[in-house]
Structures are given as C-alpha cells and as structure tokens.
C-alpha cells in the first residue's frame, strides 16, 4: 500500500473541521428557515464541497485516476446541479 494517500492524520482532522463548519452553516440556514435561489445555490455548493472532500480524502480517491473517481465526483457535481435546476425551474 502506498503511504502517499494520507500525508498526515492532521489533514483528516482539518477536513473534519471544514465539514462540520459547513454543516453548521447549513444548520443555521435551516434554523432561520431561509429560502430563495441564492440560498439553495449556497447550500448545494456546500454539498459539493463536502462531497469532494469526503471522496478525495476520506475515501481516498484523490490519486486514483480514471473512471471511479470521475463517477464519484460526477455524483456530487451532477446531482446538486440537477437539484438546483429543478428548484430554479419551479421558482420561475
């Protein structure tokens, strides 16, 4: 097994802090019961960022080339994209 996948456990911890911060920002928006396209866009952006962090660093696909990483990343880009389109279309 390659040792390069995780340079250190500190990195995992930093990512954890980012993930939790993003979650709390989502929670705060939920607490305020905000709505509107910008809010939806922001929330979905946090989903994509969180998704990419999990895929690259927790699952550890960052240095795995080819189909599998693309498919996983595709999920966190395409699905929020479709969700946004759906909300956009239903709000106009």
């Amino acid at each position: 097994m390659s040792q390069t996948r995780f340079s250190s456990s500190t990195k995992l911890t930093i990512i954890w802090v980012i993930l939790i911060s993003l979650t709390l920002s989502t929670a705060y928006i939920g607490y305020l019961e905000l709505s509107g396209l910008y809010i939806v866009g922001f929330l979905l952006l946090t989903v994509t960022i969180k998704g990419q962090l999990i895929i690259d660093h927790y699952i550890g696909l960052k240095n795995v080339r080819g189909f599998w990483r693309l498919a996983m990343l595709g999920f966190v880009y395409v699905i929020p994209g479709i969700i946004f389109t759906g909300y956009y279309l239903s709000s106009v």
């Binding site: 097994m1 390069t4 928006i29 939806v40 979905l44 946090t46 550890g60 696909l61 999920f75």
Partner: protein
C-alpha cells in the same frame, strides 16, 4: 521521462477496497441519485405541499445526525490511516468510535421516527411523507448495514486478522461507510433544509 515517473508515482494508487464493493457503491449511488432527482421533480409539481410539511421535520435531529455521520466517517478514515501504520490498537479504537457515532445516528433517527409514526403519519399520508420516509428509511437501513459491516471488521481486527500489509476488508468497509455518509450529506439538506 520524468513526467512518466511522476505519473506512475501519482497514478498508481489502486482503488481502496475490493472492486466488488465498488460495483455496489456505484449501484447504490445510482439508485439514490435517481431517487433524489425524482424527489426534485415531484417537489416541483407540489411546491406548496413540500414547503409546508418540510417545516414539520425535526431539523435539529437532522443536524445532529449529519455531525454524527461526518464524525463517524472521520474516525473510519483515521482507522484506515492507523492500520496502514500497523497500529492495530488505535484502529480498533477508531472503529469503536465510528460505531458509537453510528449508534448516535440510529438513536436519533429512531427518536425522530417515533415522533413521526406516533403522530399517525405513514408512507401514504401524502407525497412529501412518501418521499421523506422512503428516502430516510432506505438510508437508515444502509447505516445499519454499514454498522454491521464495521462491527464484523472490528471483530476480525481483534482476532488479529489485519496488518499494515493486509487489511483489504477495512478499506472495503470504510469505502462503503463513507458512501453512506456521502449520501446523507446530500440527503439532509435536500429533504430537511432546501426550500
């Protein structure tokens, strides 16, 4: 020449875990992905209804569960890191912590369901609840399955089955568990927050 060396240094990392689990991960992501898209489509035809009943959900429970799953994923990632260093003891602790976080998720979810079902709400109450219950329950079953997998891995670990060189099962289980986390990361804002 130097480029190809660099290439091979970076690109040679194999998929974490058994290829077989990756077929499952792909299939699961596909099913959830379609489910999410269908949710958005159905919501766009019932915006009022969805907005109304979404507010009745227990968001605090959802937030606690998100934090629990992300943290659980963190512990699993730390566990994989530890077993690569050959630190079996630490890996075991990390898996236990991950399981504890999973248990928190399950506990909160059961509490949430007891309120929903206690109020006489079920799958056929209305379209919103059909999707809320379908999506979260389907995911809930995945959490339980993931915990079973982690628990089995933990018991194998305790029996001394894994070393720094041979620990494929841990990576396989970890990949599955991260997927369960990843799905919740999308599901939570979609069903509980976005309006």
């Amino acid at each position: 020449m130097s480029e190809s060396v660099a290439q091979s240094a970076i690109a040679k990392e194999p998929l974490p875990g058994d290829l077989a689990i990756w077929f499952v991960i792909m299939a699961e992501m596909l099913v959830f992905g379609v489910f999410f898209i269908v949710y958005v489509f159905v919501r766009s035809n019932n915006v009022e209804l969805f907005n109304e009943y979404q507010l009745e959900l227990h968001r605090i429970g959802g937030v606690i569960n998100t934090i629990a799953l992300i943290t659980s994923s963190y512990f699993v990632a730390m566990g994989v890191y530890a077993i690569r260093k050959g630190d079996v003891q630490r890996t075991g602790n990390m898996l236990l912590l991950a399981l504890l976080m999973g248990a928190i998720f399950v506990g909160v979810k059961i509490w949430e369901y007891s309120h929903v079902f206690g109020a006489g709400i079920h799958l056929s109450t209305n379209t919103f609840y059909t999707f809320y219950i379908s999506l979260t329950f389907f995911h809930f079953m995945h959490v339980i399955l993931g915990m079973v997998i982690l628990a089995v891995i933990y018991s194998f670990l305790r029996k001394g089955k894994y070393t720094a060189e041979a620990h494929m099962d841990i990576e396989t289980g970890a990949s599955y568990w991260h997927m369960v986390d990843l799905l919740w990361v999308v599901l939570f804002p979609l069903v509980y927050i976005i309006r």
